[in-house]
């Protein structure tokens, strides 16, 4: 099933949750909608599910207008952040729900429903919980049951709204891997919403980065990390050093200090320079684009993190290899291995 979204606009009062969104999702994809809260990603997901309606724009499934149908007819599996399990039903009945409410003409008989629910319980590896109530399960188990319930109706599309958002870090990591292999197994076109970049980059085939109701970039996890399209994406994904610079007459200046960085093809004016923390190479004073004094150094797993007061007035944090000798008070030169400059303050 392909999904096509064209020029979607949704306003809540004067706040534009979606401000002209275009998106194409290919058959069998596992797509992540990534963005800070308020970026419109959940609204987009709910509109695709039929739980919300846009002010204007189109949504098509396999080229067919989806907005003409309600949530009930769209045949979309939806997984909620807080599970939304039916608490008066056992795990078994929760999963069977979608099968039991089918119109009588196509409803399966009890034996078939039992077999199907057992299959799904096996798929989410929780067959031993069939007779429990949702309140007796852990968060991770509840979310897997919610997923099994959504899959019971053999949805054409699977939508997951911050599926691991309410879980603790360790369970999240496990479920991420599990979701990826599950998707591999069932191969349903899936979209999940997250504000956790690591989750998006690790699980998805493609990542859609959103901010303020607009799509900033669509690309593979590698693309959005290695070649961010906008200042927002560079700042949001991965840890970056962000410096306000001036571009003028082919020169880049930090404060009143010119930097030896190429400014080819850049519009003059206030701009932003982005460098990944680990892309700042340390050399002797005077050897690089920047110069600064080491303020203090902390060891941080495989790297040491140093705070450096640059000439020109800014203070930055860099990640240097552990074998590099760094001491507070040293004056060092810094040269970015790679950097990006985006116009605008």
């Amino acid at each position: 099933m392909t999904i096509e979204v064209r020029n979607l606009v949704k306003k809540f009062g004067s706040f534009a949750a979606l401000d002209g969104v275009d998106l194409k999702v290919d058959n069998g994809e596992l797509l992540a909608l990534l963005g800070p809260s308020g970026s419109g990603k959940t609204t987009l997901l709910r509109i695709i599910a039929g739980l919300d309606w846009p002010d204007s724009g189109e949504v098509a499934f396999n080229g067919e207008d989806a907005l003409a149908q309600g949530a009930r007819e769209r045949h979309v599996g939806f997984v909620f952040q807080h599970y939304a399990l039916f608490r008066h039903m056992t795990v078994f009945e929760n999963i069977a729900f979608g099968l039991r409410v089918q119109p009588r003409a196509i409803r399966k008989d009890e034996a078939t429903i039992r077999v199907r629910v057992k299959e799904l319980l096996d798929l989410v590896q929780l067959d031993w919980l069939a007779d429990r109530y949702p309140s007796q399960l852990s968060g991770g188990q509840r979310q897997r049951i919610a997923l099994a319930r959504a899959l019971a109706i053999e949805p054409r599309i699977l939508l997951l709204d911050e599926p691991f958002g309410a879980l603790d870090a360790k369970v999240r990591k496990e479920l991420r891997k599990w979701l990826r292999s599950l998707h591999h197994e069932i191969n349903v076109t899936s979209i999940f919403v997250t504000h956790d970049q690591e989750e998006a980059l690790e699980v998805a085939n493609r990542v859609v980065v959103m901010d303020k109701g607009k799509i900033e970039q669509i690309g593979s996890p590698n693309d959005v990390y290695e070649s961010p399209a906008t200042a927002f994406v560079h700042g949001f994904i991965g840890e970056s050093i962000e410096l306000p610079v001036q571009v003028e007459g082919g020169l880049v200046r930090l404060g009143d200090r010119p930097l030896t960085l190429a400014a080819d093809g850049l519009a003059p004016g206030a701009s932003k320079l982005f460098v990944r923390r680990h892309d700042m190479l340390i050399g002797p004073p005077g050897s690089g684009a920047f110069e600064g004094a080491v303020q203090h150094v902390r060891n941080f797993g495989p790297v040491q993190r140093a705070e450096i007061a640059l000439l020109g007035g800014e203070t930055i944090e860099i990640d240097a290899p552990r074998d590099k000798e760094l001491r507070a008070g040293d004056t060092i030169g810094l040269n970015p291995r790679r950097y990006r400059i985006f116009a605008g303050a």
Binding site: A49, G50, L51, G70, A71, R72, R74, H75, V76, G77, F78, F80, H82, A84, L85, F86, R87, H88, M89, F97, G98, R100, V101, Q102, Y133, S135, Q136, R149, A150, A152, I153
Partner: protein, 278 residues
């Protein structure tokens, strides 16, 4: 007892609160009720039987319990709809309507009785059009029914309201996206989740209606065997100084009410157990 009291607890005061609870319940509820039972023992079994099986007593009990149950059922249905509107929708005047629900709680019942009577009397605002249709409300059993609905409605609304507020609208969306129709969502998801609260509301509205005196006697007409409620019959017997007769009827009301409320409680416990603690 000492074993329980000696065990250390995070919150102290078990002995004190338990003692207070038991003595308070004894003084306020159990001793008066025991007095009621003792008084009725002044009658011989034959006399007791004669009083209880008299046509007037039986009719009064039938009117009281039958109409109270019918009114509680109406309140259950209408109360649920009112709760739904108050909790799920935002409309102008919502807070006002929410406050209006409490009026039957606060209004002196006699005032309610007089107001309902003048409203439903043959020349009243509602009574006149109804009379034109051939429906007589004031001074008939129907009037008792109306008064019982009036005083019972807040009990259903106020017991169900917090539970519905707690019910996440997401479960309705989940049901919808799984293919359930609006009706299936209500029957299979919403009502079962509300069942314990609905049953409590039903029991409270029923209990209130059975015991109601003030508003009913104004509108009832109080015709023996037709529109005479049991509490009124008790008062009549008292004014005739037939205290034993009065207590005998009271004891029957007490026992029947207790049995019904106990049954509803069990039913509610059963419904609650199907939803283990969250």
């Amino acid at each position: 007892m000492s074993a329980i009291a000696v065990r250390r607890r995070t919150l102290p005061g078990f002995g004190l609160t338990m003692g207070l609870t038991l003595s308070w319940l004894s003084v306020i509820i159990l001793i008066p009720l025991a007095g009621l039972f003792l008084k009725s023992f002044e009658l011989s079994p034959e006399q007791l039987w004669a009083i209880l099986s008299s046509r007037r007593t039986l009719n009064a009990l039938r009117v009281s319990f039958g109409l109270a149950f019918a009114a509680a059922c109406v309140n259950l249905v209408m109360g649920s709809i009112i709760v739904w509107a108050l909790v799920r929708y935002r409309f102008p005047g919502r807070r006002l309507f929410d406050a209006i629900v409490d009026v039957p709680f606060a209004l002196p019942t006699a005032v309610a009785g007089v107001a309902l009577t003048s409203l439903f009397a043959e020349k009243g605002w509602l009574g006149a059009p109804l009379a034109a249709l051939g429906i007589k409300v004031a001074f008939t059993p129907l009037g008792i029914f109306v008064a019982m609905i009036f005083i019972g409605i807040p009990f259903v609304v106020r017991t169900v309201q917090p539970v519905l507020q707690d019910l996440d609208p997401e479960i309705e969306e989940a049901a919808g996206s799984l293919g359930a129709s609006r009706w299936q969502t209500i029957i299979r998801v919403i009502l079962p989740s509300l069942a314990p609260a609905l049953l409590t509301g039903l029991a409270l509205a029923f209990a209130r209606a059975v015991g109601e005196y003030g508003s009913v006697i104004f509108i009832a007409g109080n015709l023996p065997n037709v529109s005479e409620i049991a509490p009124l019959l008790i008062v009549i017997r008292l004014s005739e100084f037939r205290y034993a007769d009065a207590t005998a009827i009271a004891v029957v009301m007490l026992v029947v009410s207790f049995v019904i409320i106990f049954a509803v409680n069990r039913l509610q416990r059963w419904a609650q157990n199907r939803i283990p603690a969250r």
